[in-house]
Structures are given as structure tokens and as C-alpha cells.
């Protein structure tokens, strides 16, 4: 087991790759009562087309999420109850390119960890139990369909991407999930829930060696192969410039998205994430000149914010909130990016935003979930997230200017809007 100490952020990580290929990462946190375990597979809403036993499979949209729901079923009953009996709070989520199962507990940690590792690695479904879940997930889908934040975000992605599965909803549709059977769920489990495609991240006051030992004893000795997936070939251009719908909302909302160049995995991935985040802060963050101007003009309010996102084959910068005049805000963002590129970014402003971004990253280390998810993303995409202080130092103003010049452009922009329904 390899121990790395990160002096600048006061953290240690113990890492080991088990003989079956599973990556184990432990971050000891002394003084904390809670212990947090996160067991994840590199498999999410995007992974609907893949090769299993030499054959390409097309699976229904929403299947990774459906599988997540059904993994809690065990031959003996339900893992939720097993964990809850020990006072652990288990849950799970499905993202675009990962599915994570987790719990936190103050007592019986190793016992709980064993339950977590077992139920995620041993599938147990019947046609009946799979059918029963249709009603529950259908209501989850209905709930998010009524959610304007989700609608506006999905519609932005669909306006940007024509081929990438980033454009499909992680939960699928009520129609797509109706095609899911126990057999397809077993296929997906076999393909993706194999140790070499997974990671166990534990955060808290634990003994790293006994955590690794427990994983070694509990999980399968051997891993299946890491299998190829197909995300399509995405052209550079967007699908449509504008998309708009009416919903039961109190005020008009918008998201403006810029389709960015996608990023190769590896150390560059973290560097690009830092560059994208800084570009976002400098362009339209709370302390940027643009934010101040638009806020004072009443074009945006405190709901306004932006972020830079990356997933396999996909990267985009987006921003939005409530606005009475989304088109003007979108145009102002492009104009400001132009100005920053033309005039150059002010050095004092750059240094101060970098300081603030460093503080924000450090702050994130107090959240166990955030630590575990960062380590997982780092493992899946080939970088070490705890090296962020060094990466912050290596990024220059010119990097940001190049990013803005290449990505924040009118021809890469889409505008997604929601307007209130007429009474």
C-alpha cells in the first residue's frame, strides 16, 4: 500500500490496486466521528452502447440508473434495511459516467462496509422485482420532468450534442425503461461491475490496512475484462442555436452553453478542469466586472452562476439563472470573452481570483463525499485531484485567454430558455 502525503492541503492518501484490479483509496481523517465509504463503477447514463463477449449491445436509455435501484435487492431481502439496522445511511447515485454507492456511519463501520461490497458485487433480480420498480422510477422521472432546472439543462445539452450520449437523460424516459428486463440488467452488471472497472474510496478515521484487507476478502478474486464502449463521433458544431419551452415557473430562466473542445484523459484532464473553472470565474463569476454590470442593470440576480463540465468526449462551459432578457445576457458574455482576449486579463484580478479558487478547492476537502467523488473521478480519468495546488501554480493567464478564444464564441453557443406558462 502506497502512502502519499500532501503537505499543502494537510491530507494523506493510501492507495493500492488489489490483485483483482480494484483500486482502493483511503483518506484517514482523525478527529472526525463519521466514516464514509464510496464504492463506484465507471458506468453511467452515457454507457448504453458497449461490447460484451465480442458482441455490440444497445441497451435502453436509463438502464444504469435502473440497475442502481435494483442493486439494493439481495437474496435475503434488501441491503438498505441491513445497513439501516446499524444506523448507517446508505444511498446511491447515477451520473453520466459513474454509479456510486455509499453510506456513512459512526458505528459498525467494517460490518457496514462488508454489506456494501457484497450487495454491489452480487446481483439478484427476478422478472417480478424488476417489473415492480417501473412504478417507482416512472414517478422519479415524472418528478424531474416537472423540474425546470433539469428541463433547461437537458435541453441545453440536446441543443449542443447530436451524437454524444451526453444528450440522453440519465434516468431515461418512462417509455425507454419499459424495455428493461432482468436479463439486460444482468448483462450490464457483468460488463461493468467488475473489480478492474471499480474503485473503493473510504474517508474517515479508519485503519487503511484493514479496509484493504476486508475488500480483498469480500470481493471476487478475479476481474472480468475492461470492455469497450461507444460514445459516437461528435462534430464540433452545435445542433440548434436556441431552444425554448413554457412551464409552470415564476419567472423566465435561461442557460447559455458553449460547446468546448473535449479533453484527453490523464494529467491534462485536471489541468483543463482548473483552466475551465478559472475561465468561468474570470468571465462571469461573482466578482467579475461582467457580473457586477449585469447585476446592477437588473439583467441577472443572485441565481446567476456558471461552471465548466467535462465527461468522456464532452466538455462545455455554461451559465444561467433568472433573467428577463436572456439574449442580451448571452450576447454580453460573448462580448466580455472577446474583450478579455483582446485586452488581456488584468494581472491583479487574475491573482485574486486564483487565490479565491484555491480557497474554494481547499474548502471542498471538509466534505467526505466530495473527497471520495474527486478521488474516484481522478482514478477513472487518470489524474490525482489532490495535486490541485501545484496545478493552480502552473496555470497562466495566457492559458485562460487561449481557452476563452477557442471556446467562448458565438458559433459554439446555444441558448436554452424556459418561460412561464400563460395563465
Amino acid at each position: 500500500m502506497k502512502q502519499s502525503f500532501y503537505e499543502r492541503i494537510g491530507e494523506s492518501v493510501y492507495r493500492e490496486t488489489l490483485p483483482n484490479g480494484l483500486q482502493v483509496c483511503i483518506v484517514p481523517k482523525s478527529g472526525f466521528t463519521k466514516k464514509y465509504a464510496f464504492f463506484a463503477t465507471r458506468y453511467g447514463g452515457m454507457d448504453t452502447r458497449f461490447q460484451l463477449d465480442g458482441k455490440w449491445l444497445e441497451t435502453p436509455a436509463g438502464i444504469a440508473h435502473y440497475l442502481e435501484h435494483k442493486m439494493f435487492d439481495t437474496k435475503e431481502g434488501n441491503a438498505l434495511q441491513e445497513l439501516a439496522k446499524n444506523g448507517a445511511e446508505p444511498n446511491a447515485f447515477t451520473a453520466n459516467s459513474m454509479t456510486g454507492y455509499y453510506f456513512d456511519s459512526t458505528d459498525h463501520f467494517e460490518e457496514n462496509l462488508k454489506i456494501l461490497l457484497s450487495f454491489v458485487s452480487v446481483p439478484y433480480f427476478t422478472e417480478e422485482s424488476v417489473a415492480k420498480e417501473q412504478g417507482i422510477i416512472a414517478q422519479e422521472i415524472r418528478m424531474i420532468e416537472d423540474n425546470p432546472d433539469w428541463q433547461i439543462y437537458m435541453r441545453m445539452l440536446q441543443a449542443m450534442y447530436s451524437q454524444s450520449p451526453a444528450r440522453t437523460s440519465i434516468a431515461g424516459t418512462v417509455e425507454s425503461i419499459s424495455h428493461i428486463t432482468a436479463e439486460t440488467l444482468y448483462d450490464c452488471h457483468k460488463a461493468f461491475y467488475t473489480p478492474a472497472n471499480m474503485i473503493l474510496a473510504v474517508v474517515g478515521d479508519v485503519d487503511p490496512y484493514s479496509v484493504a484487507e476486508l475488500a480483498r476478502r469480500t470481493l471476487p478474486r478475479e476481474s472480468g475484462p475492461v470492455i469497450p464502449r461507444d460514445y459516437g463521433t461528435e462534430p464540433e458544431c452545435v445542433v440548434e442555436k436556441e431552444t425554448k419551452i413554457a412551464m409552470e415557473v415564476s419567472a423566465p430562466q435561461f442557460l447559455v452553453g458553449f460547446k468546448c473542445r473535449s479533453v484527453q484523459e490523464g494529467e491534462d484532464y485536471l489541468r483543463m478542469a482548473v483552466i475551465g473553472d478559472l475561465a468561468c470565474d474570470l468571465l462571469l463569476g461573482d466578482s467579475s466586472p461582467l457580473y457586477q454590470r449585469l447585476y446592477n442593470q437588473g439583467l441577472i440576480n443572485t441565481s446567476f452562476g456558471g461552471a465548466y463540465e467535462m465527461m468522456p468526449g464532452v466538455a462545455y462551459l455554461y451559465a444561467g439563472g433568472d433573467s428577463r432578457d436572456a439574449k442580451t445576457v448571452a450576447a454580453e458574455i460573448v462580448k466580455e470573452a472577446d474583450r478579455l482576449v483582446r485586452e488581456g486579463i488584468d494581472e491583479d484580478f487574475y491573482q485574486r481570483v486564483r487565490k479565491a479558487a484555491f480557497g474554494a478547492n481547499l474548502r471542498g476537502l471538509d466534505s467526505f463525499e466530495n473527497v471520495a467523488v474527486s478521488l474516484t473521478e481522478g482514478h477513472f480519468h487518470g489524474y490525482d485531484p489532490f495535486r490541485f495546488p501545484e496545478v493552480f501554480e502552473s496555470v497562466t493567464r495566457e492559458d485562460i485567454e487561449t481557452f476563452l478564444r477557442e471556446n467562448v464564441r458565438e458559433d459554439r453557443m446555444v441558448l436554452s430558455e424556459i418561460v412561464p406558462k400563460e395563465a
Partner: protein, 423 residues
């Protein structure tokens, strides 16, 4: 954790929570006043206006630049309801001194900024800046209206308003739209002067600094805080149970219906009610989760909340419109099951350990600690999480059944779709 609570000035209290394990330090400053329709919106508007600028940093640009320079320190304004009190103020945080390159000390600077925001806001001719007032008033009205956007929150809030109509507990934390529309620039300054002079100020610190240093920093920051006779905070009045159940139906263009049910609790044995509610619908192990969701597949979420201060239990669920009666019946059947004591041992111990886990891990989150101790201070209670945990440990099944027998359905709320209504 060694908690210290001291009086710093007349009507100003400091709750000091020392902790070395976090990356950040937190300082909260909250004015506590009885929640009233006449003042709720004005007090909700105040921190937003104060957050716009101080005499030293007169606009948000200058203020945000200062926060960036303090390594991304944050000052967020908050408006919360605790019992029948409204708490308005700021929660500030900054990275711990040990991570600041160059050994700069941030606590004093952040405390000073906080004090300045409260005691020395930017003014023109004895009033708040007109444009700040206008923008924040619009933002407040938008925020009040925006509750519509999240249908779950909307339904929960509609239920509480109808159920507690005429009681302070039914007033939303931001006040109502009509009152917000009437707010005036000139009057607001007088309301501000009155608030800061006559209401209790609760200060909460959580971080690595010693008590003496924290006291010194806060006394310096608030040295100009005016203090007159400090008003009492509100003591919660019990809900007046209805003789006949009140039924309310709203119609919106949505795809999922929301069923909310509010119950009054006759018992004052709050530890027993807390346990009873956890068994009924307070965890993923509860009767509602296991039956309404898992067994009957009626919904994605069906959960209940115990309002400790007011002695209410409210149920929230999202369902197909035509499943109204079936869900309604099942929720009441599960309540009856808890009342009759139809529980297995593991359910009881599971609920107990869920609550104990939550209390035990509270000390791992500065945000949770702040929110908890503010609630305690605002409602005149002094138990620590450890003491509340002890109460839960001692609750017997008989006490739970007796307390739950006093739980009575009072108000039913249903959010329906528009098409269904037309049929």
C-alpha cells in the same frame, strides 16, 4: 466538543465551538426576532441590502474583491425560521490560518468585514442606496414567487400555510409577496436601525482559534453595534387542532401530483415523537418508504417530517393523479400501524440508530453545528446533540405508541394537474 456560551454585550451571545479538524473557520451573526407578517419581508430584505456594500467597500465589486483577497472567504446572507422566530444575518467562513501561504491571519479581517456589513452599511443621505434597495426588493419578490418552481417545496409550503393559517408558524420565512411589494426605502432604514438595536444577536464561531482571540475579534467588529432594550424572542404557541379535517386542492400544469398531509401531535414527549416519526416516514427504513414506495410502487418519495418546535408531523409525496385515494389510505394505514405498535424489533433499533448516527456525526459539519445551535438559542433550549441522543437512547416502545396515538390528521393538501381537473 467543548461548547462555551457567553454573553458578549447586552443581548449579544457567543456560542463558541472549538474544532481543529476543519479546513475552514465559520462565523455566524444572526438577529433573532418574533416572526410576524408585518415585519417578515422587511427583515428578509435587510441582509440582502446590507450585503451590497459597506462604507469601506461601497459596492459589490469592491466587496467581492476583498473576499477574493481573503482566499475566497465567503459571507452568505441567511433568512431562517426557527420555531416562531425569524433569524436573519450572515454566515461567514474562511480557510483556516494554517493553510494560508505566508501566515496571514484571516479571522480578524473576516470578523471585521462582517461587523462592518451589519453596523456600517453604505448609505446616502441617511438611507440605503436607492438602486441597491430597488434591485434587492425585486430579487426578494422573485425569490418569494420562485417557490413555485420546485413543486415539492411548493406543496410542502402550501400545506403548512393552510394548516397553520393565523399562526406565526404558517408565515413563510421570506414573508409574503403583498408585504414585499409595499416595502419602502425610507422605512427600511428605520426598520434596520430598530432591528440591530433591539433584537438579540446570536454569534456562533466554529474553528481552530482560541476563545480569547475570537472574543477580541468579535468585540472589535461589533464595537459600534447600538444596543437599546433588547426584545424577547418568541415562544412557540401550540397548533390549534381542527375538529374536522381541512382539504385543499390546487391545480397547476404538472405531470406529477403532490399529496401532503399535516397532523397535529397532542403529546409533548418530543423524543418519543421523534422516534415515532422516524419509524413512520423519517428514513429509508420507515413504514412509508417500505410500503408506499417499495411494496406498492406508488411513488418515488413519500416521507414525513417531525416539526419539533411546533409539535406537527407533515407527510410529503409525489404520485400519479389517479393514485390519490390509494396513497391517502395507505399513508393513514401506516400511521395507524405505528400507533398500534405493529413494529418489529429491527425497525425500532434501526430508527434509533439512524437518529443516534445523525446526532453523533453532527460535530463533523460546521454548517450543521451552526444551524443546530442557532435553533437551540433561538428557541431557548440548551441541550447538546449528545444530550438529545441520550433522550433517544432512553425512549421505550410504550412511550412511542402513547405519543403517536395523539397524532391526528388535520389538513390534506393535493396538487393536481390541469387536464385531470377538466375531465
Amino acid at each position: 466538543m467543548e461548547l462555551t456560551r457567553i454573553q458578549l454585550m447586552d443581548g449579544v451571545y457567543l456560542t463558541y465551538l472549538p474544532a481543529r479538524k476543519f479546513k475552514t473557520s465559520l462565523i455566524s451573526a444572526q438577529f433573532v426576532t418574533p416572526l410576524r407578517t408585518e415585519t417578515a419581508s422587511a427583515y428578509a430584505l435587510l441582509p440582502a441590502v446590507l450585503r451590497r456594500g459597506t462604507m469601506t467597500y461601497p459596492d459589490t465589486g469592491a466587496l467581492e474583491a476583498r473576499l477574493d483577497a481573503l482566499y475566497g472567504a465567503r459571507v452568505d446572507y441567511t433568512i431562517r425560521k426557527k420555531g416562531e422566530n425569524q433569524c436573519v444575518g450572515f454566515v461567514a467562513s474562511c480557510i483556516d490560518d494554517s493553510f494560508v501561504p505566508g501566515g496571514e491571519r484571516l479571522l480578524e479581517s473576516v470578523a471585521a468585514l462582517l461587523g462592518e456589513m451589519i453596523c456600517d452599511p453604505v448609505t446616502e443621505r441617511g438611507r440605503f442606496v436607492t438602486s441597491y434597495f430597488d434591485t434587492e426588493k425585486t430579487n426578494l419578490i422573485d425569490a418569494i414567487r420562485s417557490i413555485l418552481n420546485d413543486k415539492r417545496d411548493y406543496a410542502d409550503s402550501r400545506l403548512l400555510r393552510e394548516m397553520c393559517a393565523g399562526e406565526a408558524y404558517g408565515i413563510p420565512r421570506l414573508g409574503d409577496e403583498a408585504a414585499a411589494e409595499k416595502l419602502q426605502l425610507r422605512k427600511l432604514y428605520a426598520q434596520y436601525s430598530d432591528l440591530i438595536a433591539t433584537s438579540r444577536l446570536e454569534l456562533i464561531y466554529c474553528g481552530s482559534a482560541g476563545l480569547e482571540r475570537v472574543k477580541r475579534a468579535l468585540l472589535a467588529a461589533f464595537s459600534t453595534l447600538p444596543r437599546e432594550t433588547v426584545r424577547e424572542t418568541a415562544v412557540v404557541l401550540p397548533h390549534m387542532p381542527r375538529q374536522e379535517v381541512l382539504h385543499i386542492t390546487d391545480r397547476l400544469d404538472v405531470t406529477q401530483g403532490k399529496l401532503g398531509m399535516g397532523c397535529s401531535c397532542g403529546s409533548t414527549d418530543s423524543a418519543a415523537l421523534l422516534m415515532g416519526n422516524t419509524l413512520f416516514g423519517g428514513s429509508s427504513n420507515s413504514k412509508l418508504f417500505m410500503n408506499v414506495r417499495e411494496k406498492l410502487s406508488l411513488c418515488y418519495y413519500a416521507s414525513s417530517l417531525y416539526h419539533r418546535q411546533k409539535g406537527l408531523i407533515t407527510v410529503s409525496s409525489g404520485i400519479e393523479f389517479d393514485k390519490y385515494q390509494q396513497t391517502y389510505d395507505e399513508i393513514l394505514a401506516q400511521l395507524a400501524a405505528v400507533q398500534r405498535g405493529e413494529l418489529e424489533d429491527w425497525e425500532l433499533e434501526g430508527a434509533r440508530s439512524t437518529l443516534l448516527n445523525a446526532y453523533a456525526s453532527m460535530g463533523d459539519s460546521q454548517g450543521k453545528l451552526e444551524n443546530f445551535y442557532l435553533g437551540q438559542a433561538a428557541t431557548g433550549q440548551s441541550e447538546t446533540p449528545e444530550e438529545l441522543a441520550e433522550q433517544v437512547r432512553n425512549v421505550t416502545p410504550e412511550r412511542i405508541f402513547r405519543a403517536m396515538e395523539t397524532v391526528q390528521l388535520d389538513t390534506v393538501y393535493f396538487l393536481q394537474g390541469k387536464e385531470e381537473a377538466a375531465e
